[in-house]
Amino acid sequence: MNKFRCVLISILTFAMLTGLAASEVVVENPIPVGVPDQMPAPNFTKLEITPQYGNFMLQPGDSKEMTVTIKNKENKAVSVKSNMLLTPYSQYNMDPEWISVKPESAEIPAGGSQKFTIKVKVPSDATSGNSGAQIAFTNETMPMQYPMPVPSYVHVFQLSLDIWTTPKIQITPQYIFDSLQAGKEYDYEIKLKNIGKESINIDPKLSNDNPYGQIPAAFKDDAITISAPLKVPAGATEVVKVHINVPAYSRGSYNGGINLNIDDPSIREYEGRVQLNFNVWRQPTEAFVKSFSMKEAAPLTIEVSSGYSNPYPYGMGANNKMPSFETKLVGPSGNANLKVTKTEIKGGISLSGEMAPWELDSKGIYEESSVQLIETYTTNGLKGEWKLKVLPNNTERFDYSITIGE
């Protein structure tokens, strides 16, 4: 605590006492003053735990071990003893008996280190879910301003356990996210693979629990037709077919889902749902036209480039939409013989710039952030008036350049 703060608190305390004495006011519930400043500075035992966390992903019946090393950075020997603490944030908790630490305790000499083997063994009847635990190696805790339900131990190893099971039905994909053109038809397939030993009934229906119901959809549910078998036999893969006939007048987006109604209690409700998100894309039908004139005959070079896009492919499967251009050049003698002389696929890799704070640990690792298609055309230009016509496909913007001469 600095001198200024000490003086200030003393003056305030004196003023308070003086005021109380003078006015004779009875304070029934005095408020503690300056609690944080009065806490002693922490003086924890210098122990280094490596690693500080472990993430175990196990199926029921599986087990896994890992080694944690504690290094004593004190000038004297330190005794440590493992203490299991379940973290309260998750609804699902692991049983402390699944976890063992060997040795349970140790005397670590000054400057020395001790390895502990942490073993997690999940029983075969454990249910899926995520849970966490802390293994505290000393009883030293962080000082808290207010009482806390769970003490914050200083020398801890964080353990995250994710128990997962393979569902009997595998659904691919679990979402359909696409851009559609008004007036066109689209087909999608949802594959259901039964890896269980018994046949499983299904009854896919459009789900009307659309959370965006208040926003008018681009088209009504009757534009979507679902056809599917009644069951998926053991070991077989069946296909749920989704056909969309996008009305010519539609615009905006459609958000909903298909509830597959899989008759298998091990499938949680949300696991049996395929989400649908469609944006109705209006493909221009008329080409963009740029007029220009040439004062003398010269070679003409046209470059057309798409906007930068996400590196991951647009659309899905057969509906995969890569940018493309229909480019024409009309001159004094009619349509010019325009040849693509170069096709460029350009990428962008960002090593800095804004990114989600939880992705900052990937900063400095190469990651493609955008891709662009560039097409270059050449022809012999004659003196006179010219028109460049570009009809873009699957790109929200494009750029062009007209180079006259070499």
Binding site: Y175, Q275, Y312, P313, P357
Partner: protein, 192 residues
């Protein structure tokens, strides 16, 4: 069989057992979720120690590593170790960067995109259930899906494995177990 021969055989078996137990290569047990491991470049002298330490740090997400490639540069005092781990069920690898110093391995960065298709699809579906995200990413193509390790996620939620679903300029942090979006980041600086 003569007694001397039996004793000799027993001593040989005992000697072989002791020899194998002391073999440093054998003590470096590879976890079952790493099928192949190699150093494509020059292997440092302390490669077994580095392998031992990093195999405690790298874990695939609901799959197994088919190949783990380790490269290193720097000197014995401070060595940069890069790990690229690939799986059979994802086109994208897991990339880890470490610094090896004073016989300790420190994770300095990671880009973990080896998320099997099923879990990738699930994460995207969860992100799209968020109205703000859904309206912001229309016509944006498919997002990237990256694993966020507990050491990072504890700053934003709780110390557990999360998934980050990111389109250009917007990212949703997903808790795959609770099937919910725990935070949304936008390039404009908004974090919800």
């Amino acid at each position: 069989m003569k007694l001397g021969t039996i004793i000799t055989i027993i001593l040989l078996i005992f000697g072989l057992g002791v020899g194998l137990a002391l073999d440093p290569e054998k003590s470096n047990t590879r976890p079952e979720w790493v099928h192949n491991l190699q150093w494509p470049g020059e292997q440092p002298d302390n490669a077994p120690k580095i392998e031992e330490l990093l195999l405690m740090e790298i874990v695939p997400y609901k799959t197994e590593y088919e190949m783990v490639n380790i490269t290193s540069n720097g000197d014995a005092k401070e060595m940069h170790v890069s790990v690229i781990a690939t799986t059979l069920d994802s086109d994208n690898p897991d990339i880890y960067n470490f610094v090896y110093e004073n016989n300790e391995l420190l994770l300095t960065g990671y880009l973990l995109e080896a998320v099997p298709g099923r879990y990738r699809n699930e994460a995207i579906a969860i992100a799209l259930n968020d109205r703000d995200v859904e309206t912001s990413v229309r016509n944006s193509g498919d997002p990237s899906v990256k694993r966020v390790l507990p050491g990072t996620s504890q700053k934003f939620y709780v110390p557990k494995t999360l998934l980050s679903v990111t389109w250009k300029g917007i990212s949703a942090l997903i808790d795959p177990d609770e099937r919910k979006v725990v935070q949304v980041w936008k390039e404009s600086g908004t974090v919800n």
